[in-house]
């Protein structure tokens, strides 16, 4: 899989990103969402996760999950309008999966987007990598 490494943080090229450090990956009719390698490395030890309810209708930008680490509590925003179809219940007992594998086993929820074309408006991997570079001061 293609990847970009920026200041030690991994950005995968098979998905899109948000300003608030979520990733979104299209898998069939669903959009899977998680937090980026950059976000998990900033949060460090993730010890608790709150998940949305399946079937709930959500609006882009809404906080629908919480990822909590020893040092802070982070809201997770849905990047697209849609209906939550799947949640990663494994995270309830193993929240550390987000640290171990943020782009894979550490996914948080999947939703059925109301309008798939909105995906193309999200940040490209290159744009997101550029954001990290800027945030880290070059």
């Amino acid at each position: 899989m293609e990847e970009i490494k920026v200041n030690g943080y991994l950005v995968l090229t098979d998905r899109r990103y948000t300003e608030s450090d979520e990733w979104v990956k299209l898998e069939g009719e669903l959009a899977k969402v998680g937090i980026t390698d950059y976000a998990q490395k900033k949060l460090k030890d993730i010890v608790s996760v709150e998940l949305p309810e399946t079937g709930s209708e959500v609006k882009a930008g809404e906080s629908i999950a919480v990822v909590e680490s020893i040092k802070s509590v982070a809201d997770i925003y849905t990047p697209l309008d849609g209906v939550v179809e799947l949640i990663n219940e494994k995270l309830l007992d193993q929240p550390e999966l987000i640290n171990d594998d943020p782009y894979g086993e550490g996914w948080i929820f999947a939703l059925r987007p109301a309008d798939k074309s909105k995906y193309d408006e999200l940040l490209t991997p290159q744009q997101y990598a550029e954001r990290i570079r800027k945030a880290e001061g070059g």
Binding site: K44, D45, V47, S48, E50, V66, E68, I70, K71, V73
Partner: protein, 363 residues
Amino acid sequence: MRRIPLREVHKELGAEFGEFEGWETPMIYESTVKEHLAVRSNAGVFDVSHMGRILLRGSHVYDFLEYMVPKSLSKVSVGSMSGPTALLNENAGFRDDVMLYNLGENEWMLVCNAANIEKVLGWLKSWRSKLGYDVEIEDATAKLVMLALQGPRSSEYVEKLGADDSVLGLKMLRFQRDVRLGDTKAFLVSRSGWTGEDGFEIIAEPRNAAVVLRRLVEMGVKPAGLAARDTLRLEVGFVLYGHDIDEETNPLEARYWVYTPGKTNYVGYEALREIIRKGVERVRVAVKMKKGERGIPRENYRILVEGEEIGRITSGNYSPVLRRGIGMGYVESKHALIGLEVQIDIRGRVQRAKILDFPLLKK
């Protein structure tokens, strides 16, 4: 922001720095959980140079300190520490909680919280003039480094540093001055700490402390940050000034036994006696989330019984050993019942927890 002397060494060791009470200090290296577990099973080393270290010398130093703290110092021999004790205000609220070291020959050291260094210096100096005592007060915080080596295997590592039996044989709350550690040396090594584990605190000049720190890490001691220090002290129920105690909190409601019953002549005595006579309206207790509840209690979260607030969390986090959210807080005395099920309002989600006694982690 104030900087600790060994900042560059910690940077090399991979520290992520954060701000604590005006100090830029290592918060975390790779993982707080790993650092925490290393201290519980092996050993970790913290740089606690932000702690205030105040040297007191002079012919009246003993009388002066006896008047400043509620704990009796009469049995504190040279080479012993007393504490934790406290500096109380006239209402018996905490000005600070402190450790005292009898260095000998009219010389003592007081270790106080980073947040209170200036306040404590001012308080000591104003009482010195009021009492007219001959005591020299020197703030030695900036010139010395303080490392805390903590964990069940600490003494093995101290031995490997080259300490002799005078250090290895130290009992809890005893110390040695002018200690040789191989080809380097320390101003003072004490058997003490703040994690609930065996351990040693090493106070040394920066260049010597740098040698000690590097050697400990080479030997396999995990460098640990302030975040791990916080989760460790929570498991054993130690209070943190500014969160769990402050000027408005008294030793009784904090259940913080910083005074010697029967001692009568010290700042705050009259108020404390009155509080002891009347009792208190709120009590500090430990809380532990019930099994299956994954929320983490944090400062200022509400503690509820049947939907009614009975108190607030003053500090809390995740316990890496219990694998559960834990914390402490004050509840109304009438609900300060060990074993009582309560609810914690975790950002609008009410989760079940239990009121327990300290320490949550029994060793």
